[in-house]
């Protein structure tokens, strides 16, 4: 009885590519998975940073809104005071004009003393009205009747606009724009987070490449994963 012949690999030389595909490719894939994980972590960190900025902008937008509304309250309060003063101014000057007309008719009715008194009262009213106006509001915002010289209208809208612009602190605020910036930061975080899904997809493909028994499929899967990784990472960072 002879000993059984045991087949041996001795003397058989494995080709380099095949050895790479069998053993080294898995090592490369593991490295790639690690690289993609690190990239994903970096994207998440970047997204978190942007989220923080968005929160800061939110707070800023609210603070700006508070300031803007405080300014609005101040402007409206001043505007109403000026309008009130204007109404009194208008009443006084109209009254003065009417008193002068009245003085003429009183004089014509044979009441010279009363006419003089009316004229005097008109003069006092006019003086007091002008004096009060100069202390309370800007007459450049007043429209006058060209014929009678009586004030007719206070340009409220223009005055409001100017008062708002005069408040330089509030004028430069734009809470809506700040809020839009916050929303934009959040859109960017969202966008970055979206690309991590592509990275995980690449990891899925690399995992498939690792576990597949088909030697032909492995490089294809790994290549697709690498392409996805490069494209998604590039778009994520370049587009941001």
């Amino acid at each position: 009885m002879t000993d059984a012949v045991v087949p041996s690999w001795e003397g058989v030389r494995e080709r380099r590519f095949e050895r790479f595909m069998r053993r080294d490719a898995k090592l490369v894939i593991a490295v790639l998975i690690g690289l993609m994980s690190v990239t994903g972590a970096f994207i998440t960190w970047k997204s978190s940073q942007l989220g923080e900025r968005a929160t800061d902008q939110d707070r800023l937008a609210i603070a700006e809104t508070v300031l803007q509304e405080q300014s609005r309250a101040q402007v409206e309060s001043q505007l109403r005071d000026e309008q009130q003063a204007f109404v009194q101014f208008k009443e006084d000057l109209t009254n003065a004009r009417l008193l002068e007309t009245e003085a003429e008719s009183l004089a014509a009715s044979g009441l010279p003393a009363e006419a003089a008194q009316a004229r005097d009262e008109a003069a006092v009213l006019r003086e007091v009205a002008n004096n009060r106006a100069s202390l309370t509001f800007d007459q450049s915002y007043v429209e006058f009747d060209e014929e009678t010289g009586v004030p007719t209208e206070f340009k409220t809208d223009q005055r409001r606009e100017d008062l708002r612009n005069l408040d330089d602190q509030a004028a430069k605020l734009s809470p809506d724009r700040t809020a839009a910036q916050a929303a934009e930061y959040r859109r960017r975080t969202q966008r970055l987070e979206g690309w991590t899904i592509a990275l995980v997809l690449a990891v899925v493909l690399l995992t498939l490449a690792t576990i597949t028994r088909s030697i032909q499929a492995r490089p294809v899967l790994a290549s697709v994963a690498i392409v996805i990784y490069i494209v998604s990472t590039s778009i994520a960072f370049i587009g941001d």
Partner: protein, 708 residues
């Protein structure tokens, strides 16, 4: 043989395949987890954006509120200025009429003209022309703050919705982690045991996929800007007193955005108010048309289903259910409301009245005692009587719907009568029950110059014992059916002593509306007597109020009567109306102050004025002038006062009967009323219906007080 146990070698032929498959499952779960994390992040971002927008809207609401208030303040102050000028024009005109000096008359004439022109000049500066337009202006200005409030609510709801989604994703991720844990743990086992872990892990992941689908397709409340705008318009209409227009706007809003809970909640209130009769208790309306109440319930339930759940809404909708006799739901909502706010007495009484209607005696007692205890708090001092009035009306409704509850309802009304004594300043140690042998009999209700009063005989009391008189009213259009409404403004105390005991005459709304009046007389918590009286509407037709501060008097006149044609110029401060169907029926009223410098004696001027009218109209007098107190005035502190009057009656050249009644008081104001009709009977009707309704304002407080 060596004493060594051979290692157990388990043959596991499918282990590599299992591991491969499991690795694939793990990475797929991870991929799914990444997608969920993305969705969580997305919803968190939307939540943060909406929360920020809500805060900004809230702050803007404050800013707009300040602007609206300051703008209204200006408009109203200019209106006051206008009224002052109008009054000065009236005074100048009156002085012109009362002076005998031609020069002074010319001076007053020109003064009057000047003030009228000034008034017209000021008039352009404000949209407020009277109290109605003031109310409209206020409602208009409040629109913008309301828009911001609504926007705040919309953003808050949106933020909550996104927040809920984000939270759900977090929960899902946690469950997914369990799935991964089980799947991973299965790799540590061999044989079939590993499937006991792997299969549940995969199953959980599959369930998570379905769950994620549900979360992702879950709705976010969507409300358009148009719906917000329409809802604010509805509120504006409601504040202006146009509940029907408000209902229309709210309906448009909910048609545009059916998920807008606030619009549904407001629609519920507006529906109820649109079906309500004008009420003495405008703040706490209890009675409305049944169809309108049903619509209000539908809208309210929709609002609740959409997450609206503030205590006030829940209590209102609960009360609407009570009105429809749906007591279980009414009690449920009223209890829910009290879980949200148990410190506001009307919400407590809303539960109490349901307990009365359902015969829960001890619970009802406890609830009413709790409400009354809350009511004693000083912050309710201005609402106390209104709240008690509304609670009494609700008890009337309970008795109307469930007559068996009458005894329990009366017990609660007794508690409320004791609570109302705080309003009247009754000493705390006053008796809370009537003496055993005490009685109140012969209760009658009468009218005097469009005011109602009660009189009765009180026996068995110590002199000066306080009795509480509680008034109720049911309008004519109810045909004597249904519950009464409590008129808290008429409530007052009387004191026993000389019989009959009489209450002060008090007005019940404008122009004494016809209907059923009832008075309940209490000694402490004990009801001693009840009196009822029916009053018809005026034989002259529906009466409306006219005049006001700028005229110096108010009066009721038939709605159909018209002022003189425009070519007839009335003196400032004069009102005149005629019956278009009977030209003989007329009324003319004016009040003018006599110039202090005119040197004219008031009584002489009054007589001269009457004589002048008599001469102008060609009146043949029936007899000499009669002295009396035929006119009623109101002092600046709101008390009624009878005015000494001179009245002449006669027939004019056309054969019409005429009566002129005049008065001049210590304030040197001449007040004159002239009425005419075809015959004496008609004249008496015109006089009793119109002259009795006149209230001259700001009369001096030196004449005999006549209630109020």
């Amino acid at each position: 043989m060596p004493d060594v146990e051979a290692p157990e070698i388990e043959l596991d032929e499918d282990a590599p395949t299992f591991r491969r498959r499991l690795a694939l499952v793990v990475v797929l779960i991870t991929l799914f987890g990444a997608v969920i994390a993305y969705l969580h992040e997305q919803n968190s971002n939307f939540e943060d954006n909406a929360a920020r927008d809500a805060q900004m809207a809230s702050i803007r609401g404050f800013g707009h509120q300040v602007q609206a208030l300051s703008e209204y303040g200006l408009d109203y102050s200019v209106f006051v200025q206008r009224e002052v000028l109008q009054r000065r024009a009236v005074v100048a005109s009156a002085r012109r009429r009362s002076t005998l000096d031609a020069g002074l008359a010319a001076l007053y004439q020109s003064e009057g003209d000047r003030f009228t022109e000034l008034r017209d000049a000021i008039d352009e500066s404000t949209p407020v022309q009277d109290f109605d337009t003031a109310s409209e202006r206020d409602a208009e200005l409040q629109r913008e703050p309301d828009v911001e409030r609504l926007r705040q609510k919309v953003f808050s709801t949106k933020s909550n919705d996104y927040g809920d989604k984000a939270d759900a994703y977090v929960a899902l991720l946690t469950v997914l982690a369990v799935s991964l844990f089980l799947t991973g743990l299965s790799l540590t086992l061999v044989g079939r045991g590993r499937y006991l872990l792997a299969i549940p892990g995969v199953a959980i992941a599959v369930v998570c996929v379905g769950w994620a689908g549900l979360i992702t397709t879950g709705k976010i409340t969507s409300v358009s800007q148009e719906a917000v705008s329409l809802t604010a318009d509805g509120q504006r209409a409601l504040v202006s007193g146009d509940a029907d227009a408000a209902v229309d706007r709210y309906r448009e809003a909910v048609a545009d955005s059916p998920e807008f809970g606030t619009a549904w909640a407001r629609l519920a209130d507006a529906e109820f108010l649109a079906g309500a009769q004008p009420s003495a208790n405008s703040q706490f309306q209890s009675l409305s048309d049944r169809d309108a109440t049903t619509r209000a319930v539908d809208a309210g339930e929709k609002a609740i289903s959409l997450g609206e759940g503030d205590a006030s809404l829940l209590s209102s909708i609960g009360f609407f259910h009570f009105l429809l006799g749906q007591y279980d739901r009414a009690e449920e909502l009223s209890r829910q409301a009290l879980e949200g706010n148990d410190q506001f007495p009307p919400l407590v009484f809303n539960l109490g009245v349901v307990q009365v209607a359902t015969g829960q005696a001890s619970e009802a007692r406890e609830t009413y005692e709790r409400g009354i205890e809350l009511l004693a708090d000083n912050r309710f001092q201005f609402l106390r009587q209104q709240i008690i009035g509304a609670a009494r009306t609700d008890l009337e409704i309970a008795v109307d719907q469930t007559p068996d509850s009458e005894e329990l309802a009366q017990e609660m009304k007794g508690l409320l009568a004791l609570a109302e004594r705080q309003v009247f300043g009754t000493p705390e140690d006053a008796p809370t029950t009537a003496p055993d042998d005490a009685s109140v009999t012969d209760v009658s209700i009468s009218t005097d110059s469009f005011r109602v009063f009660a009189s009765y005989t009180a026996d068995g009391f110590d002199s000066g014992t306080e009795l509480t008189n509680i008034w109720y009213f049911r309008p004519l259009d109810r045909d004597g059916q249904g519950p009464f409404e409590q008129l808290f403004a008429l409530d007052q105390v009387t004191f026993t002593g000389d019989d009959p005991v009489e209450t002060f005459p008090v007005e019940s709304g404008d122009c004494l509306p016809g209907g059923d009046y009832r008075v309940e007389v209490y000694a402490g918590a004990d009801l001693l007597a009840t009196g009822d009286q029916h009053f018809s509407d005026s034989p002259l037709g529906t009466l409306v109020v006219d005049g006001g501060e700028d005229f110096g008097f108010t009066m009721c006149r038939p709605e159909e009567w018209t002022p003189p044609p425009s070519e007839v110029t009335l003196e400032p401060g004069t009102l005149a109306f005629g019956n278009p169907d009977d030209p003989t029926q007329n009324v003319l009223v004016f009040a003018f102050p006599i110039g202090a410098g005119s040197g004219v004696d008031g009584t002489a001027l009054l007589n001269a004025t009457i004589q002048s009218v008599v001469a102008q109209q060609g009146i043949t007098l029936d007899g000499p002038p009669e002295a009396g107190q035929a006119l009623l005035g109101r002092t600046v502190d709101g008390s009624d006062a009878r005015l000494d009057t001179t009245t002449v009656t006669g027939t004019n050249s056309l054969g019409d009967r005429m009566q002129i009644t005049g008065s001049v008081g210590a304030d040197n104001v001449v007040r004159l009323v002239m009425v005419s009709a075809a015959n004496s009977d008609d004249l008496e009707i015109v006089r009793s219906e119109l002259v009795n309704s006149i209230r001259f304002l700001r009369v001096p407080d030196v004449t005999a007080s006549d209630g109020g």
